[in-house]
Amino acid sequence: MGKSLTMLQAITEAMDQKLGQDDRVMIMGEDIGVNGGVFRATEGLYEKHGKDRVVDTPLAESGIIGSAIGLALNGMLPIVEIQFLAFIYPGFEQLVSHAARMRYRTRGQFGVPLVIRTPYGAGIRGPELHSESVETFFAHTPGLKVVAPSNPYDAKGLLISAIEDPDPVVFLEPTKLYRAFKEEVPEEMYRIPIGQAKVVQEGSDLTIFAWGAMLREALNAAKKIENEKGWKCEVVDLRTLYPLDRDTIVQSIKKTGRALIVHEAHKTAGLGAEIISIINDEALIYLKAPIKRVTGFDVPVPPFSIEDHYLPTVERVKQGITDTITF
């Protein structure tokens, strides 16, 4: 039996259940204890599981990630909350030079089963540096896995998989979707495998690749364009950003011959480029038109009064579809 949950509630439920089921699981971060997190993702968990399992830390991301690495080395399964994605930077060295490499350096002797959860993306009228989308940094770091759910159901299943994963997972939570809609979420624990994309809508004329908050823009644009022009878009939710699910990507492109990638991140060296390159590798001859990228622009995310124009809009996605199909 399921309940209708927001993504935020689905995430809380995943953590609550894992805390209940496995002694080794703990959560740590800024304001996640007594306060229940600035987005309330950990609401009630401190009271329920106690101060040793749900830990308010000092304001120091390198200390948080670094000590979580130590906890993980010594048998715990820490879930770290970084308050906003840009605030991971002070802990970047710990993530890139240690978490991602410990298994490799010790030839499997010591692993770092760590999850780093963090809200990411724009669209919630946040202050400066509260809206970044720099998944590229992590997808360029061997040893890390990167996940970004687009709905409550996937969020719970992917987070449980991430917590159970023996390797460090960067778990990107689209802030804009936290409370955007509810969805039936099974009460039991279930897993969505890391590394698998999902075809959320079948189509024949063009494939849209998207993830996180951009999936909805993709679906909306696809619906509108179908109404307006009759073109049928296939929409693929990547879900895992590293390593990418190449098979699903290539299979779809072989079917449609045209593709569009929608992401919030800056265009240059964004993940869109990697997807284009995978298609170039595996399915160039199937391509009927250049692959279009509709992305955040190559500028720092601007103040929120104009952030909606920084982000890909349904309008821009539609334009991209049209350009690609009429190429």
């Binding site: 265009k267 190559d298 500028v299």
Partner: protein, 370 residues
């Protein structure tokens, strides 16, 4: 009974007892010699500045509630720290505020309408008046502290008589940048003032979860620089301390760490609910009634015959008008043009930004971009 074989216990025996420099008690009594002297006109300036800021702060919260501004970080309760420190500076000094220090920025010369613009998410809210050195509020915690080392270092290298002041909170003292900034400043003896407003909380986290250390000022010893703890709600104490720090800095004696004990009455930001993590009503009523920075100075001024209720009424009226005028200016400010986002990424234009700007321009011409 001391065992000689216990070097650690021996070394750790002398605990640090938190002392706090106070000049003006909450009852409005002077308990220390004031040197250098604070004359009447400066006292009145201090008082009026705090009144202006409190009026501004309350107005801002209302504007946010009415949807006329974005998330806002209030500073009510911290006026003595912000005004006292800013008034001890010279016009050309470098200021590095956080999101909560627009009070200090205003006193140092930032214009009210620009502060409104900032919280309304206009690009132009981050600009300071020509010739001033007020940096935009620093959002990533503690990062601005090293900048204030760099600007001060440059002043020193160029022989310019300016200090740099970095504002930060108690939570910021846990970040690595706090440590690196103090250490660099110690090594290069830069004319930097590290001004910590210890308001007891980093969002919901009380200082006793932030660190096992009892005070922040005690950390200065780690870098062999002076550290001092002052009553941050006592504007005389704050001003005197910052003044001394400025003088030391200008004499080439290097940086100072100042911990000003204070309290924010309200929420961390308008997005925060302090009742979740503290006895908000009780604790903020306690501070308001017993420790308020404005009340205590008012008591003193009235006793001295420097101030009365008519004056108060008059300046409040004037401040309200002034703030409203700035608000009007801010609200009448041209709407941000989305195409502006492509400017000032670099000093010189690059092909990729030019094209992306054109792409957006095309879309905007169509009328909708949603």
């Amino acid at each position: 009974m001391e065992k000689t074989g216990n070097p650690i216990m021996k070394a750790h025996s002398s605990g640090v007892e938190p002392e706090m420099f106070q000049v003006l008690t909450p009852e409005g009594e002077i308990v220390e010699t004031i040197d250098p002297k604070i004359d009447k006109s400066l006292m009145l300036k201090m008082y009026e500045s705090m009144l202006l800021l409190r009026t501004f702060d309350r107005k801002s919260i209302n504007l946010q509630r009415q949807g006329r501004m974005g998330t806002y970080a209030p500073f009510e309760g911290q006026e003595a720290s912000q005004v006292g420190s800013a008034l001890a500076l010279s016009a050309g000094d470098w200021m590095f505020p956080t999101y909560r220090d627009h009070g200090a920025a205003i006193i140092h010369g930032q214009e009210l309408y620009r502060v409104f613009l900032y919280w309304m998410a206009h690009f132009e809210g981050s600009i300071c008046p020509e010739g001033k050195r007020i940096m935009p509020p620093s959002v990533p915690i503690a990062t601005q502290m090293v900048h204030a080392v760099g600007t001060a270092w440059a002043s020193k290298l160029k022989g310019e008589k300016n200090v740099s002041i970095a504002y930060f909170g108690d939570g910021a003292t846990s970040e690595g940048d706090f440590h690196e900034a103090l250490n660099f400043a110690g090594v290069y003896k830069t004319p930097t003032i590290f001004f910590c407003q210890n308001n007891g909380y980093a969002i919901s986290v009380p200082f006793n979860k932030q660190s096992a250390s009892k005070t922040i000022s005690q950390r200065a010893a780690a870098y062999d620089i002076p550290g001092v703890r002052v009553d941050g709600n006592d504007i005389f104490a704050v001003w005197l301390t910052v003044k001394e720090a400025v003088e030391r800095a200008l004499k080439g004696e290097g940086p100072t760490l100042i911990e000003a004990i204070t309290f924010r009455y309200g929420a961390h930001t308008t997005a925060d609910n302090p009742a979740i993590y503290r006895e908000q009503d009780e604790i903020s009523t306690f501070w308001r009634e017993n420790r308020d920075p404005i009340t205590r100075l008012k008591k003193f001024l009235i006793k001295e015959g420097y101030w009365n209720d008519e004056q108060e009424e008059m300046v409040l009226k004037q401040f309200n008008e002034q703030i409203d005028a700035h608000l009007q200016k801010a609200e009448a400010y041209p709407k941000s043009n989305p195409l502006e986002m492509f400017n000032h990424v670099y000093a010189n234009e690059s092909w990729h930004l030019k094209e992306q700007q054109q792409e957006l321009e095309q879309i905007l011409k169509k009328g909708v971009n949603k």
